[in-house]
Symmetry: C2
Subunit: 421 residues, 2 copies
């Protein structure tokens, strides 16, 4: 008998029928003898509908009120799931984030969990009940105001609750049945992975995989909570994310998969003085405006005039704002030019096996060469190689690398409707 | 400068545009120099939509979960109104029922307010902010669970908050601009009343007027909170409900209006033994099953066989269940027959002036006679006369009484779209 936390995403709860299907799964898990705690996202498009209403009432709504509004979505799905579970004869009790003891910082819209004190949830479990907890929400310790956890907040709620309750596993349900070696819409023989270590999953999430939010994996890694990615439409065991990179025996270390990301743009600043502190000026102005940059590359200095070029990538959404900020600095700093390109894509190869397999970088670049794909930038970490290519080459590059490292399975990947949400 | 509590019903908040119109009114009241506390119902059809979802997930949902579900509706309208108020530049803070200190009994779906401890609301007022409070909801003192107050719960929240804060007035906004001498859809020269005492309003509400819920008027009377019925579509001052019957000077006591009610059915039990305790058997079985009866009439005993007939009215919704319960007793009790009729209507004349005007009952019955309306049952209280008539005669009876007592105005009544919700 184990304690299992299950998190269901919005697409798994988009209708009364889907909610009943989810409830059946929850009750079946309980009947197998396990204790079950469930975390729910808002139903289907509820959050978008509420955001739309808010925009029509006030284009710049106060963040505190926005949190009060949005958390209604999880309260609705939460109570409906509890009702559905009750209809199958199981004892059940629902909890808001506050009732479940999710204590957060005061930052509305993007609060951080300070601690989870799940006394009431534990009481419900001890009484034999299934506990249903509203995801994405918490309560500010000082003001007692309702807060939300930002993007991926329900996943984070589930992992944090699992850590606080000492759960054996945290299952994340969506409409995708696991983590694949590549996006099955791009690579048709992509293979579902049985297991990944936390570091591999972190690199995948940071490289464009949408299946788990980076923050929830970081939380799971910090508290050593095994996560399992599963589909609410099938009984496939999914993909287990657990264990540390250093605990993988060398002979079992493999390459896990190829991640793609077309959500970034590239900015190049030409003619930056090659003096200490010049690059810092660029990154300080962006940081002060809360713009996160990803890859950075500084070319070697041009010897005859002692200037250099700085190139970096950033989310497309922040591109125009970053260009405005930098253009405002250009004259004062004496930069020659600033260029912007959002027609780029990132392709990354990830896997613990990279440590023990020499020549991976050579094979990676040769695969792209053979596919006729030009590499614009390239960076590596201990278990990842990433290349920036033209966006129109991204899919071809992904397939070339996937083939080169023989990551595919024998059968075409199953692609569910809505995969990738 | 006064402290004013304003309550807005669902039809006043049914769209983003309506919410902005309501916010403008709230801010205007604040700019007049008043402190303002606002209580919101759920938007338009939200509650019905949530009820429908719940029914599809579980036809007999647990009451605790139902309360968690339904209160999401008021949280949504509450935060949207707060956002809209903020967009007009006013300082504003929203509160859930729990945050506003609405402490209730544990009875989910129909909880009673035990006390209101509006410390946080008072702090917001003292800081110059407009406070927006979610209606219809509270928190169980013992379990800290979310509760709802049942039908008319938002009106009751508003009155209870007004009482706890010592407000000068509690304004109840809907799409009707006051209390009329009769339903304007039936009586075209019905006149809006400027003022009523609590007892008159209680009799009107108990006699079928839908404009204020009985319970909220009882609460206002108990704590002496002046209520004002107003329309969110106009600037009409509406109708003030305040003061005690005994404080009305005799020369100012008038007849207030005619109320109609087609929501009841009539049950007659024939051949009941004319012995002590026989009628009690009937009413005990109904009370034990939480069926409320309204008017009761026991005919004089038939001398030759010492039996009598008992007739009473009750909500149509409870009619079939009551008949089942009584039929089950019929053989044992030896009743001759039980008849059921839901084609009846109640017409009532109400007003403090009844005390000082002799002959009102005679005029009342003559008005019905002259209109060719047969009276089935008749009862009176200190300030009310009620007759049960055939449902098809109800509108004609209403007009006849309204004319007889010259309650009409010089102009046709204004009927807004949706009047009567």
């Amino acid at each position: 008998m184990a304690l299992i936390v299950q998190k269901y995403g919005g697409s798994s709860l988009e209708s009364a029928d889907r909610i009943r299907a989810v409830a059946e799964r929850i009750v079946a898990t309980k009947k197998q003898g396990h204790d079950v705690v469930v975390v729910c996202s808002a139903m289907g498009d509820t959050t978008d509908e509420l955001l739309d209403l808010a925009a029509r009432v006030n284009p710049t709504p106060p963040a505190r009120e926005m949190d009060m509004l949005l958390t209604a979505g999880e309260r609705i799905s939460n109570s409906l799931v509890a009702m559905a579970v009750a209809s199958f004869g199981a004892d059940v009790q629902s909890f808001t984030g506050s009732q479940a003891g999710v204590i957060t910082t005061e930052r509305h819209g993007n609060a951080r969990i300070i601690e989870v004190t799940p006394g009431r949830v534990q009481e419900a479990i001890d009484a034999g009940r299934i506990a249903i907890v509203a995801g994405f929400q918490g309560v500010n310790r000082d003001t007692k105001d309702v807060t939300t956890l930002g993007r991926g907040g329900s996943d984070t709620t589930a992992v944090a609750l699992a850590a606080a309750l000492g759960a054996d596993e945290c299952e994340i349900y969506s409409d995708v049945d696991g983590v694949y070696t590549a996006d099955p819409r791009i690579v048709h023989d992509a293979r579902k992975l049985d297991k990944l270590c936390f570091e591999e999953m972190l690199e995948l999430a940071a490289s464009g995989s949408k299946i788990l939010v980076l923050r929830s994996v970081e939380y799971a890694r910090a508290f050593n909570v095994p996560m399992r990615v599963r589909s609410s439409y099938s009984n496939d065991p999914g993909t287990l994310v657990a264990g540390a990179l250093e605990d993988i025996p060398m002979e079992e270390a493999v390459l896990s998969g190829v991640a793609t990301d077309a959500s970034e743009a590239k900015i190049t600043i030409l003619g930056v003085k090659d003096l200490p502190g010049e690059a810092a000026k660029v990154f300080r102005v962006l940081a002060d405006n809360e713009i996160n940059i990803d890859m950075v590359l500084q070319n070697i200095s041009s010897l005859h005039n002692l200037t250099t070029d700085i190139t970096f990538t950033l989310p497309i959404a922040d591109g125009p704002r970053a260009m405005e900020l930098l253009k405002a600095l250009q004259a004062k700093e004496g930069w020659d030019n600033i260029t912007y390109n959002d027609q780029i894509g990132k392709v990354s190869l990830i896997g613990a096996g990279m440590k023990t397999h020499p020549g991976v970088t050579a094979d990676f670049t040769e695969a792209l060469r053979d596919a006729g794909v030009n590499i614009d930038m390239i960076t590596t970490s201990e278990i990842r190689i990433t290349a920036v290519v033209r966006e129109i080459d991204l899919e071809e590059a992904t397939r070339a690398i996937h083939d080169k490292f023989e990551l595919g399975g024998d059968e075409p990947a199953i692609v569910y409707a809505g995969t990738g949400r």
